[in-house]
């Protein structure tokens, strides 16, 4: 996949905007998921994910060929999410619950037209709870947990994306897991 991406990037550098569309197609779900899990809100996630792709496009010259594009775009997106979280911190706890819970339920219902079976509903509620607890994590723990368990990236990749030493990634993952464990133990 990286070779396809690299050839598309070369086309983009030559001024072919459409080639960038193909790159967005390849990564949009991953980046959107990352933003959603970081921010806990679909609307904001879409906003930030789009901004990440636009920034990547504008700064495509500074992308070093031969490096992994996925790490680069993850990094841009993660940084944007963290910026967003820090900016909205003061009013965060006021509206955290409403968009988090409602958003998930609403969109999950749109996704499936059929009437929801009981066990599926329970499972969705569980997922909401998990997402809510993730959203409560301090952003530095949240980022590593999301990258590790939702994006399924290796610790080395995470260290590259966040530009922090491997040891720090591990420490943060350990702390994040412990915090989540305490919050989710009674489920």
């Amino acid at each position: 996949m990286e070779t396809i991406v690299n050839s598309r990037i070369k086309q983009v550098l030559k001024g072919d905007q459409n080639a960038y569309g193909e790159i967005v197609e390849l990564y949009k779900d991953k980046i959107f998921q990352l933003c959603y899990r970081m921010l806990g809100n679909r609307h904001e996630a879409e906003d930030v994910a789009q901004e990440a792709f636009i920034r990547a496009y504008i700064n495509i010259q500074s992308f070093k060929q031969g490096k992994k594009f996925s790490s680069w775009i993850y990094r841009i997106a993660t940084n944007l999410c963290i910026d967003r979280i820090r900016k909205k911190k003061p009013d965060y706890f006021l509206d955290a619950e409403v968009p988090g819970t409602e958003g998930l339920t609403m969109y999950s219902q749109i996704a499936s037209d059929s009437v929801m079976p009981e066990d599926k509903l329970v499972r969705l509620e569980l997922q909401e709870t998990v997402q809510k607890e993730i959203s409560k994590l301090p952003e530095k723990y949240r980022a590593v947990i999301v990258l590790k368990y939702m994006e399924e990236l290796s610790l080395n990749e995470i260290s590259e994306i966040l530009d922090i030493p491997l040891g720090t990634v591990k420490t943060r993952i350990h702390r994040g897991r412990e915090t989540l464990r305490q919050q989710l133990r009674n489920l």
Binding site: G15, K28, D29, F32, L126, Q127, M150, I173, H174, L180
Partner: protein
């Protein structure tokens, strides 16, 4: 939680798949004998399962199209920038050309004084350079901001910048120019003239050098 903290650390190392066999064995032995740690370990694994179990979500419809619509249009400036970055040599050349043109332009505007090439047998009246009848000028004549009147003979080129060759009408009668006659009145002529002379000089220099080498 009276157990040594190292077991918690081992649990996390185990979950990161970054634990030595010996420590893994130590951990499993401890867990079998310690209910608190067993529970702790189970909870951790369950937490991971819960986090991983959250459904994978997809980007909304029209996500890519929205981005493509928001991308900055390929502005001429951006294109140029990109082009300059990709063609450093041509950029340098065009910059050089621009500066050259600039200096030529300022020269054109500044040099408003009357000047001419000093040749031994020419007359100057006000702003008119006269080649008198019967005289033969050996060499080129260059006049800036003035007129030239040729009644005699010039064995060379006559160039007038920002002026006129009023001798032309006499040429048929008495005046004679063996070289080229040119009037340079427009900026483009001026630039062209400069390029021509520069090229000529360069070649002459090369020839001179070659000569001196031989």
């Amino acid at each position: 939680m009276s157990c040594p903290e190292k077991y918690t650390a081992y649990m996390h190392d185990y979950l990161d798949e970054d634990i030595s066999e010996q420590r893994a064995l130590e951990l499993s032995e401890h867990i079998q004998s310690c209910g608190t740690c067993e529970e702790h370990f189970k909870e951790l694994k369950r937490t991971i399962a819960l986090v991983q179990g959250t459904a994978h979500i997809k980007a909304p419809e029209g996500f890519t199209e929205d981005i493509m619509a928001k991308l900055p249009k390929e502005k001429r400036k951006v294109e140029l920038n990109r082009w300059f970055k990709n063609h450093p040599f041509l950029s340098a050349a065009s910059l050089f050309f621009l500066l050259m043109a600039g200096s030529l332009f300022s020269n054109w505007n500044q040099e408003e004084q009357f000047s001419y090439s000093k040749q031994p047998n020419i007359l100057v009246e006000n702003d008119t350079v006269i080649v008198p009848e019967g005289e033969v000028v050996k060499g080129d004549i260059l006049v800036r901001n003035g007129k030239v009147q040729i009644e005699g003979e010039v064995q060379g080129d006559v160039t007038v910048i920002n002026g006129e060759i009023s001798g032309e009408k006499y040429l048929a009668a008495a005046g004679k120019v063996t070289g080229e006659i040119s009037e340079v009145n427009e900026i483009f002529d001026w630039i062209w003239y400069h390029i021509k002379t520069t090229v000529k000089n360069t070649f002459n220099m090369n020839e001179d050098e070659e000569r001196s080498l031989q």
